[in-house]
């Protein structure tokens, strides 16, 4: 088994060590103190993954993550989050160069295609198994297929129906059962451990509860969290090697936000405006977020169906389904139904509109990530829904990872104009009241 020289993980280890040292020496008061804990956990993850890969433990790329972990796969270094992290260093140019050299599609979503480049270059380990659910994120499917074909490894596609009903639940659960058998037959050294899956689901449920508490604190004005830190809360934080520590970090973050919310302190004295920021972050330019803080603009960042993750629209792990408790595999099937890119786009729009109203945003920044077919297509539905709610939307054509063509100056100019539009609408509403 070839695991390459794992430049990416080695870089991550150096990055986290540097960040931890920097925070300890000179903490930034605008950032959350609990970030230190997060970086320590992520450092542990990176070191652990590197050791696993060097020891030859199998890794996987794909979904459902809990199920793959319960089978004994170690972190693959793939996925959106790992891809996003490459943008902060040399990855913003390195992988775009590789993309062109390798004749890969340049206008594919960089958040998906970077996984192929990480793996094929040897910067990250090659997975021994790849799975994907057939959602509207076509590039996720193409990426998984390319990874499997180029690595000559087993590949499984889970077909998810649009509707969350009993028939489909059985259909998807049966496929997951078949996938488990397929993996056990094809990949040496892995075995399904149901107790492990239950444990992962328990941590996810606990993490989601904390996330929901954080969500409530986030409603306070001024926002207890800065624009950069606002992007850290997308999942329950329990996908780490040590989920207990993941939960401890979530609790520390919650307590810190609670304290800030109670004292009415945050990163800005006066919150002039709150914006929903959706589809992708500008991962290579942290200073744009600091600038937003300085303008008194708070961000509520959503990627995918955030309201679902928080349990506003459907149940957490462990909640009943049509009056009955689900089996662990059925729980994973239910999770796939509510994958952000599965089902009708309207569901995602409803989620974003729910959060927009609940968090009292004054507008939305909609990043048009090239190659992201679901969000490019959903823009009209979203802007129409926002307009109906009397809220303006700004579309910004920007890549999440590749920095080429990015101009902070232009983005600031556009945001400045947009902030004024939102403030103007807000003032008109106040006057009307």
């Amino acid at each position: 088994m070839s695991t390459g020289y794992m430049r990416n993980l080695e870089n991550e280890i150096i990055k986290y060590q540097r960040r931890i040292a920097k925070i300890k020496e000179n903490p930034d008061p605008t950032k959350l103190k609990s970030n230190l804990m997060l970086y320590e956990i992520e450092l542990e993850d990176a070191i652990g993954h590197l050791e696993d890969f060097k020891a030859g433990k199998p890794s996987a790329y794909g979904a459902p993550g809990h199920l793959l972990r319960a089978m004994g796969f170690c972190g693959s270094g793939g996925g959106y989050a790992a891809a996003d992290r490459t943008a902060q260093g040399e990855g913003s140019t390195r992988y775009l160069d590789m993309l062109r050299d390798g004749n890969w599609p340049e206008l594919a979503c960089d958040r998906t295609v970077v996984a192929i480049l990480l793996s094929n270059s040897g910067d990250s380990p090659k997975p021994q198994f790849v799975s994907v659910a057939n959602t509207s994120c076509e590039f996720a499917g193409h990426t998984a297929q390319a990874l499997a074909q180029s690595g000559h490894v087993p590949y499984y596609v889970v077909d998810i129906g649009n509707d969350a009903n009993d028939e489909n639940l059985k259909y998807v659960t049966d496929q997951l059962g078949e996938m488990v058998e397929y993996i056990e037959a094809k990949v040496p050294g892995v075995k399904y451990d149901e107790d492990k899956l239950i444990e992962h689901q328990h941590y996810d449920r606990e993490g989601s509860k904390i996330l929901r508490e954080i969500y409530e604190f986030r409603k306070r004005r001024p926002s207890p969290v800065g624009a950069r830190d606002a992007q850290r809360e997308q999942g329950p934080g329990t996908g780490h090697r040590n989920p207990e520590k993941g939960l401890a970090y979530m609790r520390a973050q919650r307590d810190e936000l609670f304290e800030r919310a109670e004292k009415g302190t945050g990163v800005m004295k006066e919150e002039k405006l709150r914006l929903l920021w959706t589809t992708v972050g500008i991962n290579y330019d942290e200073s744009i977020y600091k600038w937003l803080d300085e303008q008194g603009v708070a961000i509520y960042y959503v990627f995918g169906n955030h309201a679902r993750t928080l349990g506003f629209t459907v149940g957490f792990y462990g909640d009943p389904w049509n009056g009955r408790k689900l089996t662990p595999l059925e729980e994973e099937a239910r999770g796939l139904f509510y994958n952000s890119w599965n089902g009708r786009g309207q569901r995602l729009i409803d989620d974003w509109m729910f959060i927009s109203k609940d968090q009292g945003v004054g507008g939305a920044v909609y990043l048009l990530q090239p190659g992201c077919l679901p969000t490019l297509n959903l823009r009209k539905l979203f802007t129409d829904a926002m307009e109906k709610a009397g809220l303006p939307t700004m579309s910004l054509e920007i890549r999440g990872i590749f920095k080429e063509g990015y101009s902070q100056k232009d983005v600031k100019a556009k945001l400045s104009n947009f902030i004024e539009i939102c403030l103007s609408k807000k003032q008109t509403k106040v006057q009307a009241i």
Binding site: A413, K414, S416, N417, E420
Partner: protein, 256 residues
């Protein structure tokens, strides 16, 4: 209160002095190869001299434009769309849509009571910015200010197929080889250009009255094309090039 507004653009820097009665004086200086701050300082001095005022008489200096952030002596910096909306609210409150075509970027805004309500920006493609017209003027060796008048003399404007600013010269050359006249080529190219900048306005929804500002608002052929397409007359301010600077000066009045 006397305030100064400066629009630091790529080709020219514009400065406007205002007080509560409106414009006191204005200047437009081509940028050349001087630094933004040097040109902006020259514009400040020129406009003060023109109005017969001392630097101390100016309370605030509001700056806008692509290079506005480089003007170190500014007291306030304002976004371009906001300045445009403010200026229009003062000049002609019935205007609700404005088109501003600059050298490297074009803006279309909607406004109400001097406040910006919507904006669309083209900063990606030169085919819809003043750069396209500059290349055209340079190829035919016609001053930009005269290009519109030349186009109005055309009898049979050509179909100018290439939209990319990079290919303006080769397309114009091919048409000349085919025997087309300069005025017909210029008129055809400007007609295509009009439809592209109009699409920017369409993208946010046209709401009359409509104004056009920036140096290209002096191009009569361009204005005629747009008016014919819309079936409406455009409002062109007396000094369309200084509209942004005027807006910045007005906004600076509200800043202590």
């Amino acid at each position: 209160m006397i305030t100064l507004g400066i629009d630091a653009g790529t080709k020219a820097t514009k400065a406007v002095l205002t007080n509560h009665t409106g414009t006191l004086a204005s200047v437009v200086l081509p940028c050349g190869r001087e630094s933004t701050v040097t040109i902006a300082d020259l514009a400040r001095r020129d406009v003060l001299a023109k109005a017969g005022l001392s630097p101390e008489s100016v309370t605030n200096i509001g700056v806008t434009g692509l290079y506005g952030d480089r003007v170190s002596f500014a007291t306030n910096t304002f976004p371009e769309g906001v300045c445009l909306a403010k200026a229009m609210g003062y000049m002609k409150p019935s205007v609700h849509s404005v088109l501003d075509v600059g050298s490297v970027r074009a803006l279309a805004i909607k406004c109400q009571d001097g406040r910006l309500t919507s904006i669309s920006v083209n900063d990606r493609c030169a085919s819809g910015t003043g750069a396209f017209v500059e290349v055209l003027a340079s190829f035919f060796r016609v001053p930009i200010a005269e290009l519109g008048n030349v186009a109005l003399t055309a009898k049979e404007p050509v179909d100018f197929l290439n939209t990319c600013a990079v290919y303006v010269e080769s397309e114009a050359l091919s048409l000349m080889v085919e025997g087309k006249t300069a005025e017909n080529i210029i008129a055809g190219a400007l007609r295509g250009f009009s439809s592209r900048i109009l699409s920017l306005l369409m993208s946010i929804g046209v709401e009359p009255d409509i104004a056009m500002v920036g140096g290209l608002a002096n191009n009569k052929a361009l204005v005629k094309n747009i008016e014919e397409s819309l079936g409406l007359s455009l409002f062109i301010p007396e000094e369309p090039q200084t509209a942004l600077a005027f807006g910045a000066a007005l906004l600076a009045q509200g800043k202590e």
